[in-house]
Structure formats: C-alpha cells, structure tokens
Amino acid sequence: MVVVEDLVKKFKDVVAVNGISFRIKKGEIFALLGPNGAGKTTTIHIIATLLKPTKGKVLVADYDAVREADKVRKKIGIVFQDPSLDNQLTGYDNMYIHGKLYGLRGRELHEKIMRLLDLVELKDFAHKKVMYYSGGMRRRLEIARSLLHEPEILILDEPTIGLDPHTRARIWDYIKYLRKEFDMTILMTTHYMDEAEELADRIAIMDKGKILAMGTADQLKSMLGQDVIYVAIDNVNNDINVCNIFSFAKICKVLRDNRLELVVDNATKALPEVFHIAESKGLKITEVSYRRPTLNEVFLHLTGRELRDSSELHPIPKRRMVRFR
C-alpha cells in the first residue's frame, strides 16, 4: 500500500530524513517509533503530500505522492499531531465541511457523520463548538473525521500524545477496531514504546532521520536475547577494552553514559560471574541492574541512549552545540 524508497528531506541545512526505505502491506499497522525530532512527522507529511521530498520515491496505493498528489489525497485519511479542527465551529460542522471537501453530500453525508460520531461517542456533543471540547474529545473527533471519506490508508501522527491513560486506552481500542472491522492499513508514529508494542504489526525504530531497525516487536527484542545487564563501573581504564573482560556475554557494548550493556541468556546466573570478574580485575561496580528486553532496551542498544532521555533532542545549530561543550 505504501512504498517509501531512499527518502531524503532537507530543511535549509538540517537533514530531517536521511535516506529511509520501507513498505507497508495492506491491512497492516505499521509504526514509526522514535524520539521527537527523529523525522517521523516529516516522513508522514511527505507521504500525505504536504511536503515535497528532497530525494527519493514515495508511492501510496500505487500513486506517486509528488506527481499524483490529488489521487493520493483521496486515498488517505490523516490525524495530525497538532490539532487541525476549526474550533469556532461545531463538531458536526467540522465533519460536514470535511465531507464536502471530499465530494460527499446530502443524506449520505449526514448519515455517515452521525454513524461516525456515534462510533467515537461524540453524538451528544455534535452541535457544541469544538472550543468547548476536551483534548480527548478533539482527538476522537479528528479520528472520526479522517474516516469520513473511507480512506484506504489511515495515517495517525502521535495519536495519543498529551492524553490521559484512560483516553489513551480508548483510542487504542478504536484503532484496533478499525483494523479488525475494516481491514484498514494504518501508518502511525509514536514515541511511546508501549503504544507501538500494543498496536503495531511491524515497527521501524527511527532516530536522527534514519531507520535503525525494522520488524515485529518480538523480532526487535530478540536482537537482545533473553536478559540485559547494565553495569556502571567507577574506575574504568580507557586503555583496556572492558568488553574483552566480560567475554561470556553474547553482546557487550559501552553506552553513552559509560554504562556497560551485557546481553546474556540468564541474568540471575550471570550476575555472580559479573561481580567475580570485576573483583578479580580490580574494577569497582557502582550500580547494577538487569531487565527483560523491551523496545526501550532495543532503542538503548541501537543508539546508546534511552528513548525517554532523548525526547528533547532537537536539532540545534552546530555552532551553539560546540559552545555548550
């Protein structure tokens, strides 16, 4: 349904998307997972024909997103990360105008609007102005609106950002329902690991404009095997490679904060050995933890930093960064 090949997007001197490729199959939920500033939204805007790519090819339902933009626009429904409603109009009017912009009218349009407002439980608020809606209600209205013209592909940009846990769960239910009921192809972005894991059939982990890994949640986690041990060591001598010491680990890597990442089959059995080796080599351990790998550990493994830490990583002009260091 969606083919993205070698996509590059530059804004003046900032490279937002740096050569990514992926394919989304029909009826699949595909998630772009990554921190803010990873290039997810830019990618989505290019697919939705709102930005022109600097380089690369984008096909949506076999139409080229640059040359056949209006055909692509008919096939997609999109919920933007930022609100895109007219909040001086009622929920019904927002739906009505959307329907007419997509060529619907009359009885058919009215019935569709009421059916969808019912689905997202906004029927009772249909004739209230959107400015009086809560954040969750607005998001639900946007989802209903994006479905009005029966798109083949639904694009959701951070569908649950800024919502409370209860509303999040409800939006997740809608998304699952759409897939089950209409076999809808869904492309979504998120920086919540649990969201990607809960909803997506396949996940592409994105950081700094590149896709670092792609696959099902299980495939991604299996990159790290069973357990991951994190060890903080106080007196590391930079001359020796610590990873040579802990050679029993399947994967050994030094993270950005100088912690050591050790991937093992069974952490409870491996931990005593870690202490033993450290003691014999005169290394002072200040902190130890181990976890079952989640997508966060996968992200940590791929980038050397935690997903939640990197949420403030916006592109800063180079000169300023140098001065800060």
Binding site: L51, K52, S84, N87, D93, I97, G103
Partner: protein, 286 residues
C-alpha cells in the same frame, strides 16, 4: 461535481464562522458608523452654506451675502458632484468598509495556520484553486452583507441616497471585495504571524483609502496623487458607488460606471489568479 461541493463547503465555512463571531460582526458595522457620524457630520457643517455669512470680512449687504453664499455653495456642489459633503463622504465610507473588510478577511488564513485548519484544506483532494476560491467568495459575501447594512444605516444621516440602486451597488462591492479578499489571502499565505500581516495591512490600506476619493474628490488632488489614484482600483469602486447611490459623478473625465465595472472585474480576476497560484504552491514550509 465534487469540486463544486468543495466550493460550497468553504463558502459555508466562512459564513458560519462569521456568524458565530457576532461580537466581531457588530464591530465591523460600528467602526464605519463612527467615521460617518463624527467625520461626516463634523466636516459636513463646514461646507454648509448656512454658516457662510458669519465669516468676518463679508459686508453686511443683503445681495452680496446672497451672491457669495450661492457662489460658494455652487463651488462645493461642483466639487462634491452636486450633493452635500455628508452624502459625498457616506458613499465613500461604504466602499471603505467593504475594502477594509475584504482585505482583512485574509487574516483568517493566518488564523487557520496557527490553529491547524489550513492543513485540513491542504490535504483535501479537491482542487486547491476551488478551495481558495470558495474561501474568497465566502469572505466577499460577508463583506457585501456588511456594506449593505451600512447603506441602509446611511439613510438616517442623509436624504440624498437612491436606495433603489442598492442591488446594483452591491454587485460592484462584491466584485471589488473578490479582488481585495484575494489580495489579502495571497499575502496571508506568505505570513506566519498576525503581527506581520497587521503591519502590511496598515501600510497598504490607509494610503489606498486616502487616494481613492473617499474623503475628498480625486479631481482636486495634486498631480502626483492623481497618478496613484488612477492606478488604485478603489478609486473606481468609489466612483461607481457614488454614481449609483447619490447620482454624483465625481472622478476623472474618462470614468463612467461601465469602465469602472470593467476595471474592477479585471482587477478581481487578476487577484483571484494570484491567490489560487499561491495556494497551489503552498506547503507546510510556508
């Protein structure tokens, strides 16, 4: 067919928005009323021949006063096209209202950028030129309705208005509004902030109003100002509206209601084309 739906959708939206913001509606009517009442009546009494005998230096001989009074009165009548100053100015303020209203209506584009609704119209499959045209027509209808209210209110201040020609005048007003709403929209598409647009509005609107003949006739302007007035589309709508509403033909020699209509129509078509081309090229980067 689907393109027509998009066209009416945008008209519906602009009208509904205007109707929902009623406080704004009263302001757009109150503002010209202030001009009309204070500036109109204030200046109007200066040009009133009744006040002439009190000027010092006129000898108090009955015949001389009469002759002078009628001579001065004739001079003003000739300047203002045979009507008194209040009528002269009111007919101009009606056009000014429509001009300001339509030009500023473009600001809703910036509003939509900030509140995100512009994305909704950018991602719609309907031809962009139709979407923007619907918007402009909607705004122009709003402006025309506002001007109609001003025309109806103006009969309180003067009895020289031919209300019978109102529908004809509204046609001129509507066509002019199409032009200026398009210009305002095209400029707004290039701006991110209201402040920036506001600055352009102030920079453009006041001078255009002053050299259009709203407050004083174009015929007595200095030569350089006449040149600007000739190339100002507003001059032609002021002339036409004054011609039909007050039967006052104040303007350059070549001006008549037909040329006015032709020039305004050409102006509107040119501006709509510019607005449509600008909107077609708009991406989220603008």
């Amino acid at each position: 067919m689907s393109a027509f739906n998009a066209f009416t959708a945008m008209i519906y939206r602009q009208l509904k928005r205007w109707w929902n913001a009623r406080s704004r509606v009263t302001m757009t009517i109150l503002n010209p009323l202030i001009w009309m009442v204070f500036l109109g009546l204030g200046w109007g009494s200066i040009f009133n021949p009744q006040n002439i005998p009190s000027i010092p230096g006129i000898p108090d001989i009955p015949n001389v006063v009469e002759i002078l009074r009628s001579a001065i009165d004739n001079y003003f009548k000739q300047l203002f096209g045979g009507v008194n100053y209040v009528t002269f100015m009111l007919t101009g303020v009606i056009v000014m209202t429509a001009f300001m209203g339509s030009f500023i209506s473009g600001i809703s584009v910036i509003w939509d950028k900030q509140f995100g609704f512009l994305k909704e119209t950018l991602v719609a499959p309907a031809p962009r030129s139709i979407v923007i045209l619907g918007r402009i027509v909607g705004d122009s209808i709003v402006t025309t309705i506002q001007s109609l209210v001003i025309v109806l209110l103006s009969i309180v201040l003067t009895n020289e208005i031919n209300l019978i020609n109102t529908p004809l005048v509204m046609c001129y007003i509507f066509i002019m509004s199409l032009g200026f709403a398009s210009l305002g929209t095209a400029i707004s598409l290039k701006f991110r902030s209201m402040e920036g647009f506001q600055m352009v509005v102030n920079l453009i609107t006041m001078p255009l109003v002053f050299v259009s003949g709203v407050f004083y006739p174009v015929t007595t302007m200095p030569e350089w100002m006449k040149l600007i007035a000739e190339s100002n589309p507003l001059t032609y709508s002021v002339h036409a509206v004054r011609y039909w509403l007050a039967s006052a033909d104040v303007g350059f020699e070549y001006m008549n209601p037909i040329t006015d209509l032709a020039i305004l129509t050409l102006f509107a078509i040119a501006m709509i084309t510019i607005a449509a081309k600008t909107f077609e090229k708009t991406t989220l980067e603008d």
